[in-house]
Subunit: 344 residues, 2 copies
């Protein structure tokens, strides 16, 4: 007898290769599409029995909801766009990692935008990523152009800026005063008796603000800024190593140097170790960021602790609270602390 198409159509039959849709599940469970939707999104609003029936069908068919379609219909994408200059720097990477994990817990996915250190590109990135209809935006150390700002405002979605600064640029902020950090470091070093100072720093915008605070305070307290090395980000250990000699030359009587990154400071320490320069006797060093490398060096690095991961987490909390309509503070100042170790 020749094989013949079944006369009672199998409710689970589909043209092979076609992906499983919500209507397939509905048919298999003997309910309507909307009931399947509810089973997945608001399960409490269904009878235990139907819920079970639907979920079992979901399972059997291996149904994976098309989130794009859902987003289009509900106007909620459950995606957050995160724009970061780079993730090759541990500080930003930690922040993004913590943020992504926390948002993921809350059912959001993160779209990654790598802005680099170029304004034009970052702006373009913001605009195209806005086309993804994100429910929110995370900006890490991003300087926004006027155009980008306008678009953000029009998008009408919560925007959290972390790693931020005193001057409010974004909707919501999680950060600290960079100038204040510079000031605190200068005070710390002056208090410990240093009078001559050096700077080794990347020239990115945040670092420059820290330097401003540092310089002003050093000056006010009668210190002398003898030398300053600026370089393009990202900071590297090698740049730090190369900086030791010029620093010692400019500070022949000793002094203290403020580095814009623990990486630079670690380079200084390595070079000092290699060439027998006593730290802090011949040169005191203060870093920034409290990276693992700083605590692990010998002598251990005095530095400024800023917890990138904590900022990421706080940003996520802000974001989810805001998305849930809960009232939240517009600005959160995270604690920043000078960790006195062995290099000052």
């Amino acid at each position: 007898m020749p094989p013949k198409a079944s006369t009672t159509p199998d409710p689970e039959a589909r043209p092979p290769g076609r992906t499983v849709r919500i209507t397939d599940v509905a048919a298999a469970a003997g309910v309507s599409a909307i009931t399947v939707s509810r089973a997945l999104n608001t399960p409490d609003r269904l009878t235990k029995a139907t819920l079970r029936r639907v979920l079992s069908a979901v399972d059997r068919l291996g149904y994976v909801p098309n989130l794009m379609a859902g987003a289009l219909a509900s106007r909620r994408s459950r995606m957050i766009v995160a724009i970061v200059p780079t993730i090759a720097t541990p500080m930003y990477a930690d922040a993004l990692q913590a943020f992504t994990n926390a948002m993921s817990q809350a059912g959001y996915h993160v779209v990654l935008g790598l802005g680099g250190f170029d304004r034009r590109e970052e702006e373009q990135l913001i605009i195209t990523l806005l086309g993804r209809q994100p429910d929110g935006l995370l900006l890490v150390g991003s300087a926004q152009s006027a155009e980008a700002k306008k678009r953000l405002a029009e998008a009408g979605i919560p925007t959290v800026e972390i790693w931020g600064d005193a001057s409010p640029r974004a909707d919501l902020q999680v950060g600290f005063s960079h100038a204040g950090v510079g000031e605190a470091v200068a005070n710390h070093l002056c208090d410990r008796g240093y009078r001559s100072f050096g700077i080794v720093s990347s020239d990115d915008i945040r670092a420059m603000e820290r330097l401003d605070g540092f310089r002003r305070t050093v000056e006010r307290r009668g210190g002398r800024l003898a030398v300053q090395r600026l370089m393009a980000p990202p900071s590297t250990i090698m740049e730090g190593r190369r900086s030791l000699a010029p620093l010692l030359r400019a500070l022949p009587e000793g002094g203290a140097v403020f580095c814009s990154s623990d990486l630079l400071a670690a380079g200084l320490l390595i070079e000092a170790g290699a060439s027998g320069v006593a730290i802090p006797a011949e040169l005191a060093i203060c870093g920034f960021g409290d990276l693992e490398i700083g605590q692990a060096m010998k002598p251990a690095l005095t530095t400024v602790s800023v917890d990138g991961a904590e900022m990421g987490q706080l940003a996520a909390r802000c974001m989810t609270d805001r998305l849930a309509g809960n009232p939240i503070p517009r600005r959160i100042i995270v604690p920043v602390e000078i960790i006195q170790r062995e290099t000052t």
Copy 2:
């Protein structure tokens, strides 16, 4: 005269607060919606004149296409999901960064999935992220469960696994043999005359494969594996520092140690420097990853160079070629090289 609604309706007027849609642009430019779509996607298929008219309207209205709607209609999301265990590790971060940049160039956005080192979670992540309808998937050092594999196959999208290994798990692979690396390191150390060996390693799956290769080769060449310290990822410098003492105890006559990460090796070097242990005379050290810290240490670290950024880039090329329908090799082996510096 009282203000009165204009009788010739402004083609650019919209209820305020409503976002600009393609039909708004169409109306403003005096064309149909599909023409606007074409102006943006296939500009060559339009008259110069209409193209100009449309683009000017796009500009004037600040139209940003809704990519979700476009994706739904075209069945191409122009999104790639990247699943990485962590970005707190420079090696993975570099790979992801290079990949994201390259894909961005090609007009794709990357959705970030942080898998951690937990299988169950990673699997769940793969499934929900598949709901985003990505056009492709990047797996970085991901071990796929059977269930996840099935879903991936059903999704029918290109999957590139980087940081991969000899055993093909994914559709496409960009990687190298981890066991081969262990073997090469063992050979290198034996060739240089070392006979007693130690291991300091994280216990993640890739590292373990490298260790297997290392052990087998050491044994074959008559060496002796005297000590082995395994720890949970991620590797830290501090763990390295703490490992020196036990290592020296187990290797009183000297020997060589293979670390699963340059971070661990750097810790060993720092501790050695602090306690006056001569490297490599009292202990030779070989790292893995060729991170900046290794080259920047004094003495400079012998290590295995694996270029994470290059893998990311190659993966992106694979992905775009495949998406464009170009034929590509199923496996790309990236060169892995032992960089002999001062610690062996």
